[in-house]
């Protein structure tokens, strides 16, 4: 079946450290992946995406890695800041457009 999941429900990091949030997906037909950030009371906010023909993509302070062999996706946040505290979701999409979300990882940044 289709499912997208994250390995850890909560990740606690020190301000200034790098964060790595992991996600495993099960549908090998998925060809598009997105990371979203959700702050309390807000909707999912687009962070970065990656297509299946790539294995790495960088944005501002964020990097997404895709390993299709083991169906694993990760989000790396460099120099984590208090404003990065939120719930992070990975989502996958195939050829229909609907997004399948994982359970979410809560990132807590300690000052």
């Amino acid at each position: 079946g289709e499912s997208v999941g994250l390995h850890l429900p909560t990740l606690s990091v020190q301000e200034g450290d790098n964060s790595i949030i992991n996600c495993a997906y099960s549908n090998s037909a998925s060809d598009y992946f997105i990371w979203y950030k959700q702050e309390s009371g807000k909707g999912p906010q687009f962070i970065i995406d990656i297509r299946s023909n790539m294995d790495k993509r960088q944005g501002q302070r964020v990097t997404v890695l895709l390993n299709k062999t083991v169906k694993h996706l990760s989000l790396q946040i460099a120099a984590t800041q208090p404003g990065d505290s939120a719930v992070y979701f990975c989502a996958e999409s195939g050829n229909t457009g609907k997004l399948i979300f994982g359970q979410g990882t809560t990132l807590q940044v300690k000052p």
């Binding site: 060809d31 598009y32 997105i34 979203y36 009371g41 807000k42 909707g43 999912p44 906010q45 687009f46 995406d49 297509r51 979701f89 989502a91 999409s93 195939g94 050829n95 229909t96 457009g97 609907k98 997004l99 399948i100 979300f101 994982g102 359970q103 979410g104």
Partner: protein, 117 residues
């Protein structure tokens, strides 16, 4: 930066009543979506909409649900006879492209919290 807007932010309704949730997608976007998120759970797909018709719907989107684009800017989700288990956050999203060309990010509104009493 253009954004998806949703109204109301919170809707309280008696069980069995009809409710309409409203969304204004980003203006040049062609694909529209509704998702829901039960408290503490992941976001779940409900329905996608393109060219004035439903493209895909999930098992959750039964015949109590309907969507409409009544004019060039609004996109609505109607629940005909609400149940207690319909209580959730409902998110509208839009994307410039979708379907077979779905490699475009969907942009979400901040949601409507629906509380069924």
């Amino acid at each position: 930066e253009p954004e998806v807007t949703q109204t109301p932010s919170h809707q309280v309704t008696q069980m069995g009543q009809e409710v309409i949730l409203r969304c204004v997608p980003i203006s040049n976007h062609l694909y529209f979506y509704w998702y829901r998120q039960i408290l503490g759970q992941k976001v779940e797909f409900l329905v996608s909409f393109y060219n004035n018709e439903i493209s895909e719907k999930s098992e959750i989107f039964d015949d109590q649900f309907s969507v409409e684009r009544p004019d060039g800017s609004n996109f609505t989700l109607k629940i005909r006879s609400t149940k207690l288990e319909d209580s959730a956050m409902y998110f509208c999203a839009s994307s410039e492209l979708g379907g077979a060309y779905s490699n475009q990010p969907q942009h979400f509104g901040d949601g409507t919290r629906l509380s069924i009493l």
